[in-house]
Amino acid sequence: MHELFFLPEWPPRPGGVAWIAVMLVLAVAAGEAASRWLRLPRIIGYVGAGVALGPQGVGFVDRAALGELRLFLDVALGIVLYELGSRVDLAWLRRNPWLAATSLAESAFAFGAVLALLLVLEVAAPVAAVVAAIAAGTSPAVVTTIARELRARGQVTDRLLLLTALDSVYVFLAVAMLYAWVGLEYRGDWMAMALHPAYLIAGSLALAAAGAALVAVARRMLPPRSDADVVIALAAIVLTVAFADALDLPVVLALLALGALARSFDRDRAVPPATFGPVEALAVVVLFAFTGAMLEFQVAPLAAVAGLGIVAARALGKAIGVFAFARPSGLALRKASLLAVALTPMSGLALVMAEQAAVAYPELAPGLALTLLAAIAILEIMGPLATRFALSRAGEARAQ
């Protein structure tokens, strides 16, 4: 009898990377199936695969594993935000100030409508405010992915991307401030209360400017349109994510600004915005599959109703905001209604924020879970459909 020392233990136990790969393959397969046979956006397939494999489904992926993947997810999100940032033209706000009004109004009304609903339902005020702030945002990932899948171009698409970038920023600032307020960290110190958002904004912009300068300098040393452009942009994204984390700055704002500034620093070369190609496709699959795995479906019937209420209140608020300034901002009412529909996707980021809140302020957790998670689950499926419907109806889709 020989000692077959080289044979492994049976069954083999591959490391964590293997199940990520399995999940990605299944997600891609589900995405293709959704697109081909159900004519749904691919990302709904990715989310579906995540749900099926996650704790709600067969339990292939559990919460602990999701925690390990935090950085991976942050970079995937970073890619999406960077690209959104590079597609947003802030000079437009100067040329058309009514758009800035639209942006503030759609966020504020969505916040107000959800807050009012929750207060009527007798949710505690701090919880209601946090939930309403989170609900006011639109999903950068869903919006950019659907716009790219359709190769959409036109007023509704351009405005959708701009409003999404801006409301993501408001949400992060508002939530950061609300947490500080709920945590009583301001302690009635008005100075701290004023300086906090100033730090968040100025810090993120400074960080983004440093990253964008790095990209610009590195690119100047490369031939135009080099493959290394993508590598450099990715490095800048990872650095920005890491430093934003270390400096307690809002990652979303820093990355959007990074995308926008990297583009404007590149003015003299006027190349089209960097596209990550296959890397971005990977990022999108990762993002939505893991969002699916994190979704919570086992909520009480009451919470489901409250979730539907949030969805409706949010939609109403956004619609009022968009309609209020549609005409002065130069948008026909038909397109304004399509824009309001296109803003339906609520950010998967809300999940992350809700979890962070639950950890940081355990007293908020039950209230949050009760209401917000149901709304997110509903919108994760409805959102992509609504956006696709709106952009197609506006005649802005070039690919079906």
Binding site: A270, P272, G330, R398
Partner: protein, 370 residues
């Protein structure tokens, strides 16, 4: 019966097909219907209409007697258009082609006529995403219109070379100064009008073509110059849309001076022989612009187009004075003597930047006139 509605001789009107581009990547974008809805809200000078694709818009002026009022109206229309485009984050520019748009990306504007054209011509209709200037000159009657039309044929290379603004197409340098006209050539009813000098004969020709079912209206002829009986004009269609409204107005004034000279002095006899050199001269103008050579059908001598223009301008000087168009005369003279065309401006800019999107950005800036 195709009735030619008389109009005041030597009156002018201009149509410009403009490009609508994205301000981030400078590719053609969809925006015609949004732009139209916005400018339609309040009264504005001129007429602003949709064209065959969502990335194109056509502006046209009223009827003018002189270059001065024409350029004023064109500037006013431009300002309305630019202001509306700013609100929608769109760029508006001239140029005969978009330098790097891909034809398969274009969508056809949704009206019955455009759908018909699109179905008939297939990919040609989308490849026909080119942008031209049309110049209308008023004529007293149909016979006069046909006389002017065939006499002007001799000067078609001037209009091509002076307006040429489409050196780049589908992402490459075409080596032509006006590559736009190559897209027009592909159509079966392009080229020149038949050599007929009386409206009665022309009407008979048109009825026969209609009898064959080849055309339904004058719109189906894509000739370099065609009569427009319902306006009482002849329409010069070979110009690329220039990068500035000032050049567009000066080109129209040049046509007006030519027509006044041709009508008053009849400097050469009208025979079909004029057309023997037509395609050669036209090619030279498209390919080499102001530096191309043309053969004078009367003297059989060959000379550079810019010299031919300068010689013509000399004959036109008294008519420029008579039409109050000395400013336009001076401009054309400067362009011809310096060889300054929009095509050359575009090529020189590309030598600096090596970026086609940058080229479009500068075209947009140039059109604003700022």
């Amino acid at each position: 019966m195709l009735e030619f509605k008389p109009s005041a001789p030597l009156t002018l009107g201009v149509e410009l097909e403009m490009q609508i581009v994205d301000r981030l990547d400078w590719d053609l974008t969809r925006g015609a219907s949004d732009l139209l809805a916005l400018v339609a809200r309040r009264p504005h000078p001129g007429d602003i209409k949709p064209e065959i694709t969502e990335s194109m818009i056509e502006v046209s002026t009223g009827i003018h007697r002189a270059h001065g009022t024409l350029v004023t109206e064109l500037r006013a229309i431009r300002d309305v258009l630019v202001a509306a485009a700013d609100r929608l984050n769109l760029g508006i520019c001239g140029g005969g082609t978009h330098p790097f748009q891909h034809w398969s990306d274009r969508q056809i504007f949704d009206t019955p006529r455009f759908r018909y054209v699109s179905e008939l011509y297939g990919y040609l209709a989308k490849q026909f995403t080119v942008f031209g200037q049309h110049i209308h000159v008023g004529c007293a009657d149909g016979d006069e219109a046909l006389r002017q039309l065939h006499a002007l044929g001799r000067f078609i290379p001037h209009f091509i070379a002076l307006s040429a603004a489409s050196p780049y197409s589908q992402g490459a340098d075409t080596s032509f100064d006006s590559s736009r006209l190559n897209a027009v050539f592909a159509f079966p009813l392009s080229g020149r009008a038949p050599f007929l000098l009386s409206w009665r004969e022309f009407d008979a020709y048109f009825e026969r073509m209609r009898g064959y079912g080849i055309v339904e209206s004058m719109k189906d002829f894509y000739w370099d110059i065609r009569p427009k009986p319902e306006y009482g004009t002849i329409e010069i269609r070979v110009c690329d849309t220039p990068l500035t409204v000032e050049r567009a107005a000066a080109l129209a004034a040049y046509a007006q001076m030519l027509c006044r000279w041709l009508a008053a002095e009849r400097p050469f006899p009208l025979t079909e022989d004029l057309y023997l050199v037509y395609n050669y001269n036209r090619f030279q103008a498209c390919r080499f612009g102001l530096a191309g050579n043309v053969i004078d059908p009367a003297t059989r001598s060959e000379r550079p187009i810019r010299d031919d223009i300068l010689a013509t301008l000399e004959a036109l000087a008294p008519h420029a004075a008579g039409l109050d168009a000395r400013d336009a005369h001076r401009r054309v003279l400067a362009w011809a003597s310096e060889g300054a065309s929009d095509a050359r401006w575009l090529r020189e800019l590309y030598q600096e930047s090596h970026s086609l999107p940058e080229l479009v950005r500068r075209q947009v800036e140039r059109f604003r006139g700022a």
